[in-house]
């Protein structure tokens, strides 16, 4: 009799300890959102996952961050050892070998260039450098008009960047002249997000969100609930104007004139450059958000839409099935495609 009860004592005490530990939030749980934030791609990148134990979540997030860091080393023209930098430093007008990974991203960028009839380009690095928006010490006034005119005269528009695949399957790239240099900033962030999501999925994470400075992609949900995404007011950064309840596999990329800009003589100069003018796009828009499944593609699409404006941009949107957009103009007026997931908040 006594030994029977003794058998129960230890399990009861252990169960009691576990209950207390659970109550005190000491045990790893899977029904919470677990997040980590790092500096990457010139911005804050936050990965949040749901539905996996803490240790597994941390491992998966760590691997995803490492993958983003690796991609940054390949894609960022600012990085001294990046493949893009090496191509930019090489000779112009000749075919140069390029890795398959970089080639596929350039190919995607060229697709957006073609669809947008040159309103978007992955060959604007010299112009980007001229404007200095990516610099640690950005300009406070526009570059001299003569410099922009000189760039514009030399820039070969649709022929700026060319890509080919040889019979042996190897890719080659050609930058037409010195006015051209690779800058994959407008598709690279989306690509890094897509790749990091793939890493999470390989690690068994099926519910997650990766947010890279306001460009994001979600997979799955938070249990029964969708991911809840706010959209920043283009002119009042502390205010959220809408919510998008996203679940499944949805990316949401935003281009706006309020992230990197300066005001000179009362005029706003922002970082989204129009390859046709050499100046920041003046399409009458302050913000463009695009939703779709492929973050890389809609990353470029949001930039192209911003440059084109509402009237010319909507046909481009229609040419990319599965993409939806919300455009906000300088007066705060909104144009959105039918399938854009959004609920407007009372202001």
């Amino acid at each position: 009799m006594n030994s029977t009860y003794r058998l129960y004592i230890l399990p009861v005490l252990v169960a009691l300890l576990l209950l207390i530990a659970l109550y005190l939030d000491l045990l790893p749980r899977s029904n919470t959102v677990q997040s980590d934030t790092r500096l990457a791609m010139g911005t804050l990148v936050t990965i949040s996952v749901w539905g996996v134990p803490q240790v597994k979540a941390e491992q998966a997030m760590q691997k995803a961050f490492m993958h983003i860091a690796r991609l940054e080393e390949v894609l960022a023209w600012q990085r001294p050892s990046s493949e893009v930098r090496k191509i930019n430093q090489d000779s112009r007008g000749t075919w140069l070998p390029v890795s398959e990974e970089l080639a596929k991203l350039v190919e995607l960028g060229l697709r957006v260039t073609e669809l947008s009839h040159g309103a978007f380009s992955v060959g604007l690095q010299p112009l980007t450098a001229l404007w200095g928006f990516s610099s640690d010490q950005p300009r406070s006034e526009p570059p001299p008009p003569a410099m922009i005119a000189a760039w514009l005269a030399a820039y070969p528009a649709l022929q700026a960047v060319q890509l080919r695949k040889n019979h042996d399957g190897a890719y080659q790239i050609k930058l037409q002249n010195d006015s051209v240099g690779l800058d994959l900033g407008a598709v690279g962030k989306g690509y890094a997000i897509d790749q990091a999501i793939a890493v999470l999925q390989q690690e068994g994470v099926m519910n997650a969100i990766i947010n890279a400075g306001g460009d994001l992609r979600v997979i799955g949900s938070k249990g029964a609930q969708p991911w809840r995404i706010g959209l920043q007011n283009p002119r009042e950064p502390e205010h959220i104007v809408s919510q998008s309840l996203l679940r499944g596999n949805v990316a949401m990329m935003t281009s706006g004139d309020y992230e990197r800009y300066f005001i000179f003589e009362g005029k706003r100069y922002h970082h989204i450059l129009d390859p046709v003018t050499g100046y920041p796009a003046q399409s009458g828009l302050s913000s463009v958000s695009v939703q779709g499944q492929n973050a890389s593609l809609i990353n470029g699409l949001s930039t192209a839409l911003f440059v084109l404006g509402a009237k010319e941009g909507m046909p481009l949107l229609a040419a990319v099935p599965g993409s939806e957009a919300l455009l906000i103009d300088l007066d705060g007026q909104r144009v959105q495609s039918k399938g854009f997931v959004v609920d407007w908040l009372q202001q």
């Binding site: 009799m1 006594n2 030994s3 029977t4 009860y5 003794r6 004592i9 230890l10 005490l13 009691l16 300890l17 207390i20 530990a21 005190l24 000491l26 029904n31 919470t32 959102v33 677990q34 997040s35 980590d36 934030t37 790092r38 500096l39 990457a40 010139g42 911005t43 804050l44 949040s48 803490q54 961050f65 640690d136 010490q137 950005p138 969100i209 947010n211 400075g213 306001g214 460009d215 994001l216 979600v218 938070k222 249990g223 609930q225 991911w227 809840r228 995404i229 706010g230 959209l231 920043q232 950064p237 959220i240 919510q243 998008s244 949401m252 935003t254 706006g256 309020y258 992230e259 958000s289």
Partner: protein, 162 residues
């Protein structure tokens, strides 16, 4: 009668509330007596140690405020741990030169540095567990210790598009 009523109590049927209460009261009492008789000195020691562990655990958790420490990262590598329990002023060399980090009354902020947009400074104080503060050009990220865990049903934004 006691056994019958105990069975009924288990099924939450029959017996009036007074009887139900007294039955369970007696059952628990009986159980404790039996357990006490069944325990050896070693068992009692085990119970005492477990109770002490629980007590210490509770006291430790109660004493340890959430978000009591900040982690300072430079290029995503941890370079400092700062206690938020003590006021302090820390200097750190980032990519753009010296950065000052101030801790006061359990909060932390980037106080003074040279950066084009001063976004880290404009962010102001942070104090909640998981909150982050960064000067991107400086390569400095400050995070209040502890995972930023949000309950699945809370009303915070999971992400802000911008």
């Amino acid at each position: 009668m006691v056994n019958v009523c105990r069975a009924r109590a288990l099924l939450l049927t029959g017996c009036n509330s007074e009887m139900w209460y007294s039955t369970w009261y007696r059952a628990v009492g009986e159980m404790l007596v039996i357990v006490n008789r069944a325990m050896t000195a070693l068992d009692r020691l085990l119970v005492l140690l477990t109770a002490l562990t629980i007590l210490l655990l509770v006291l430790w958790i109660a004493w340890q405020p959430k978000g009591s420490r900040a982690v300072v990262l430079l290029d995503n590598q941890i370079v400092r741990h700062l206690s938020l329990a003590e006021d302090s002023l820390t200097e750190l060399v980032g990519h753009l030169g010296m950065v000052k980090i101030q801790v006061t009354e359990g909060r932390i902020r980037l106080l003074e540095y040279d950066s084009p947009r001063m976004i880290g400074s404009k962010t102001g104080w942070i104090q909640n567990r998981g909150a982050v503060l960064a000067c991107i050009p400086c390569g400095i990220l400050i995070r209040i210790d502890g995972a930023a865990e949000n309950k699945a049903d809370d009303m915070q934004w999971d992400g802000v598009a911008r």
